[in-house]
């Protein structure tokens, strides 16, 4: 019964988070100073010449209708909730009309997910492995060197690392491309090779700037755990270092790291704005950036909704998984 209550409570929180998130998401862009219809009118005026007042009004009404922006704010809100939760449709992009928002998102999502998922996992595995060893032998030269490296890399702004990598490896030694040029037949090795080649520098920039944090955090965890009574007891029992690390330290040190990893993966759906802008990488971050610049409500709501759903879902899944990972919670 307790388990059922626990699951029901978490699902209720999940639904509430989604409802509040979507509501904020709907209203906030509407209070922004950008009106997509007016922005479109300005664009049309540049090419089509001046229009008198009646033409402007007619065109404005037609565009509002086309973009689903007619009706009161409440009516628009109702239509928005229906479209999102029932049809999972965000309508057409306003800045790239009539392309559907879902089409733009589904084109961009694999790029963001592929890049950020692989870079995050690499950074996580590398950082935790190095941090664990550094925390286990904190006074060794290797341990100190690792910590020093982490402390040096972690504070460098991502933008700087990305620019340095670009200049070094796309200009001074022009090994990697300056922009993504993906070629190859669908599902071919050429295509895979092309994607990996083009994604290498952006991924490298993410790994370099994030794995330091994993090192520092897991090292601190490891050092603290080493002094725990259950570890000292195990050591006194004569267990080997490998067994101590593998069975006693690692599972406990990794617990918070898994939480952060899951949140990171949830946040991935935001796209990595700066990565994608700097490397001109065709993912969700670049889409969000465009949507903000051009006041494209539908696109903005589509991309951010995805992020809200992803973070809320990731958090809920972690909550469900925690009892399986940590016996203290299961039996608590």
């Amino acid at each position: 019964m307790r388990l059922v209550n626990f699951i029901a409570g978490r699902i209720a929180v999940y639904v509430m988070v989604l409802a509040v998130g979507m509501t904020i998401l709907f209203f906030v862009p509407r209070f922004a100073p950008t009106d997509p219809v007016d922005a479109m009118l300005a664009k049309i005026a540049v090419q089509s010449g001046y229009m008198d007042a009646s033409q402007v009004d007619a065109l404005r009404a037609s565009l509002s209708d086309t973009f689903g922006l007619d009706g009161s704010l409440l009516e628009q809100y109702g239509a928005f909730l229906r479209r999102v939760f029932v049809e999972f449709d965000f309508g057409p992009s306003l800045s790239m009309y009539p392309t559907p928002v879902m089409e733009l998102i589904s084109n961009a999502l694999p790029w963001t997910f592929g890049l950020l998922f692989s870079a995050t996992i690499i950074a996580w595995v590398l950082g935790n492995f190095v941090g664990l060893l550094a925390g286990w032998k904190p006074n060794s030269n290797a341990g100190r060197a690792m910590e020093g490296l982490a402390i040096c890399l972690y504070p460098i702004p991502y933008y700087i690392v990305a620019l340095i990598l670009s200049v070094l490896f796309s200009y001074v030694w022009a090994i990697f491309p300056l922009t993504t040029t993906i070629r190859g037949a669908p599902w071919s090795w050429d295509l895979v090779r092309s994607i990996v080649w083009n994604s290498f520098l952006p991924a490298m920039a993410i790994v370099i700037t994030t794995f330091g944090w994993w090192i520092i955090s897991v090292k601190a965890q490891t050092q603290a755990l080493k002094e725990e009574e259950f570890v000292r007891y195990a050591r006194l029992k004569g267990l080997s270092d490998a067994r101590l690390l593998g069975r006693y330290i690692l599972p406990n040190a990794l617990l918070p790291q898994i939480t952060f990893l899951a949140l990171q993966i949830g946040l991935m759906f935001n796209g990595s704005l700066i990565t994608e802008i700097i490397f001109d990488y065709p993912g969700l971050g670049l889409l969000i950036y465009k949507a903000v610049l051009q006041g494209d409500y539908n696109l903005l709501m589509g991309t951010i909704s995805l992020s809200i759903v992803a973070v809320a879902t990731a958090t809920m899944i972690i909550d469900f998984l925690y009892p399986l990972i940590d016996p203290r919670i299961r039996h608590g």
Partner: protein, 639 residues
């Protein structure tokens, strides 16, 4: 052997050799790779052009009549053609798909005959005929969902076929400038003739037109599914195109439009010879490029490097429906509060041509308006008899820059005027103060109070992260006005918000430009926008006169201009009168022509237009770019 190894030297030597070999292999590999572009075309046969704007997120939609479709991937510049386009060097329209300028068939300019070029074919081999033009007319007319439909049908009453290559056009009202309505003067025009055999039976509001059947010398070849590049290939039958008939065979077999993203990466791409033509960068980036790659050329080989002939000049545009900017004294006082030399240096290191008039100081227009009006400007008086014009600005600016160590500043006063403009308004804070006090402003200590008794501060809207000259100019002017005693805050805005504010009239002052554009002596095209017909109340978008400037004298002059054909001798006279009225009322402080830093790379291609080889302006993103492409020569041929 073991002993030698133990000290590490042979290992290091071997590593060094390996490193050298690897580096050489890398260089060799890179050199080989540079023979081909990364999209698989021979580099020496490929012209690579910077795509204006970011990557295209909907790359497989090339329907130029849909609102959100991007055309800057080469479709507009290279593959499509207009009935009439612009010769930017001569400052006049030229027939392209049409065979001549429109011939008026009556005295009130409502009926015209237009001959079409013969021997033109679409890229799929079908003939281009009058049927295509008539079909396009009907398609636009019968598809009201197209944004262009309303504006089009408002002017064009009908098109009828006379024979296979002649049409007649009837307009809804006197339209002496039919070629302006249906052809390009600045950037392009929305009237693209479509191939009837492709579009017939399609719904123009939803048809994606992909891959497009093109009419000019290049056809679609390939694109990046993520929209970062588009490859266009020279048509085998290029002779049967407008370019083939008007210029000859274009040399580049391929034209690759591509984006590299941020300015830093675009600059690296050109420095790396991965880009031949760049759009619009900052003077600082140009400086880096010129130092990094000896084959990179700017418009001028020396100061001012930039092309100064952009058809839209920059300045401060008021919302004249909002107090205190509804008073001419306020606007004139703010003009006289600006030190134009300081503003020029703060914006683009002085690499700018000043303009006191409402049309840009391009070579053609400076000769038509600025120079002839200098005497009037010098003698022009405000109501109290004050003469605000400083005709010596060019000489003073030249001296100032020379004293700051800038080389290659001309000594000849005529050359100085050509470079820096015919003059600008005096920097005279005392006269500005007098104007304000006369208008009812007061001073409380150092604080200016508006006539209604509130402290005067200015929020100055500026482009945020785009149109770098207007953005920087806003900060320079804000500094001037703040020094004068009116605290001025720059509000940088993204494009959508920036233009929405101007349309809806929610700005006080903005670093805008749309009302100050022109390229041919018939300045009707943009000056018409000052007519009070276009004024809308604040909050309602206006398609022109976004400064809400109501001036009956100005509107009457524009009404007269509306009736005069573009080649009439009265055109310049009327244009001059309109510009005088705009000076008197000062609804916008016009400041500088736009300096475009648009470098080219001569590693693979030469004969780009430059100041010394001015056959076209460097507007790579305009519809007339196809004429530039057709005149480029391979670098190897030039050697």
């Amino acid at each position: 052997m073991q002993r030698v190894h133990s000290n590490g030297r042979p290992v290091r030597a071997r590593l060094a050799r390996l490193g050298t070999a690897a580096t050489l292999a890398l260089i060799a590999g890179t050199a080989t790779a540079q023979e081909m572009t990364d999209v698989g075309t021979p580099r020496a046969d490929t012209l690579i052009v910077d795509m204006l704007g970011a990557r295209v997120s909907n790359p497989t939609n090339m329907n130029m009549y849909q609102q959100g479709v991007i055309l800057g991937q080469g479709l507009h510049q290279l593959a499509l053609s207009l009935l009439w386009d612009i010769d930017t060097a001569a400052g006049e329209q030229i027939p392209v798909l049409a065979d001549a300028m429109p011939e008026p068939l009556n005295d009130d300019f409502t009926r015209f005959r237009v001959p079409l070029k013969q021997g033109i074919t679409w890229s799929d081999g079908e003939d281009f005929t009058a049927d295509d033009v008539i079909f396009t007319d009907q398609m636009i007319r019968n598809t009201p969902e197209l944004a262009f439909s309303a504006a089009y049908t408002d002017v064009i009453a009908s098109m009828t076929k006379v024979d296979e290559h002649t049409i007649e056009i009837e307009t809804t009202r006197p339209t002496p400038r039919l070629s302006v309505v249906l052809g390009s003067v600045i950037y392009g025009n929305s009237f693209y003739v479509v191939p009837q055999h492709v579009w017939e039976g399609e719904n123009a509001a939803t048809f994606t037109n992909f891959p497009p059947v093109t009419i000019s010398a290049y056809e679609y070849s390939e694109h990046d599914p993520n929209g970062s590049w588009f490859l266009w290939e020279k048509r085998d039958d290029w002779q049967n195109t407008d370019i083939g008939q008007m210029v000859g065979e274009p040399e580049p077999d391929y034209v690759l439009f591509r984006t590299y993203g941020t300015e830093e990466r675009r600059v690296l791409a050109m420095a790396n010879n991965e880009m031949d033509i760049l759009t619009d960068i900052s003077p600082q980036s140009l400086d880096i490029l010129l130092n990094q790659n000896e084959n990179v050329r700017a418009w001028f080989p020396d100061f001012p490097y930039a092309n100064l002939d952009d058809p839209c000049e920059r300045g401060m545009h008021f919302n004249t429906a909002v107090a205190p900017y509804d008073m001419w004294q306020t606007r004139w006082a703010l003009a006289l509060a600006i030190d134009i030399e300081r503003a020029s240096i703060a914006t683009f290191d002085g690499m700018m041509r000043a303009s006191p008039l409402g049309v840009p100081p391009t070579e053609v227009l400076q000769n038509t308006y600025h120079e002839p009006m200098t005497e009037w400007l010098t003698e022009f008086e405000l109501e109290d008899g004050y003469k605000p014009f400083n005709p010596d600005f060019a000489t003073e600016m030249a001296e100032r820059l020379r004293s700051e160590g800038i080389d290659n500043i001309p000594e000849d006063p005529e050359a100085q005027r050509e470079l820096f403009g015919v003059g600008w308004w005096k920097h005279d804070p005392a006269q500005a103060e007098k104007l304000l006090l006369d208008a009812g402003f007061t001073k409380d200590g150092d604080t200016w109070m508006t006539p209604d008794g509130t402290p005067w501060t200015i929020t100055l809207f500026a482009p945020g992260g785009f149109e770098v000259q207007s953005e920087r100019l806003a900060y320079a002017v804000a500094n001037e006005w703040t020094q004068f005693g009116v605290p001025t805050q720059v509000q940088p805005m993204p494009a959508g918000a920036f233009f929405t504010a101007e349309n809806a009239g929610s700005h006080e002052v903005g670093s805008y430009w749309a009302a100050a554009c022109a390229i041919i002596p018939d300045v009707f095209v943009n000056l018409e926008g000052w007519h009070e017909d276009y004024i809308r109340e604040i909050g309602v978008p206006a398609s022109a006169n976004r400064g809400r400037y109501a001036n009956p004298e100005l509107s009457a002059l524009i009404d007269r201009l509306r009736e005069v054909p573009p080649d009439h001798p009265e055109i310049t006279e009327l244009g001059t009168e309109i510009l005088k009225v705009l000076v008197e009322g000062m609804p916008a402080i016009n400041m500088f022509g736009t300096s475009k830093f648009v470098p080219v790379n001569e590693t693979y291609w030469t004969n780009y237009p430059t100041a010394e080889n001015y056959y076209e302006g460097p507007w790579w993103w305009w519809s007339n770019f196809k004429f530039i492409t057709a005149q480029l020569e391979p670098a190897t041929a030039a050697e």
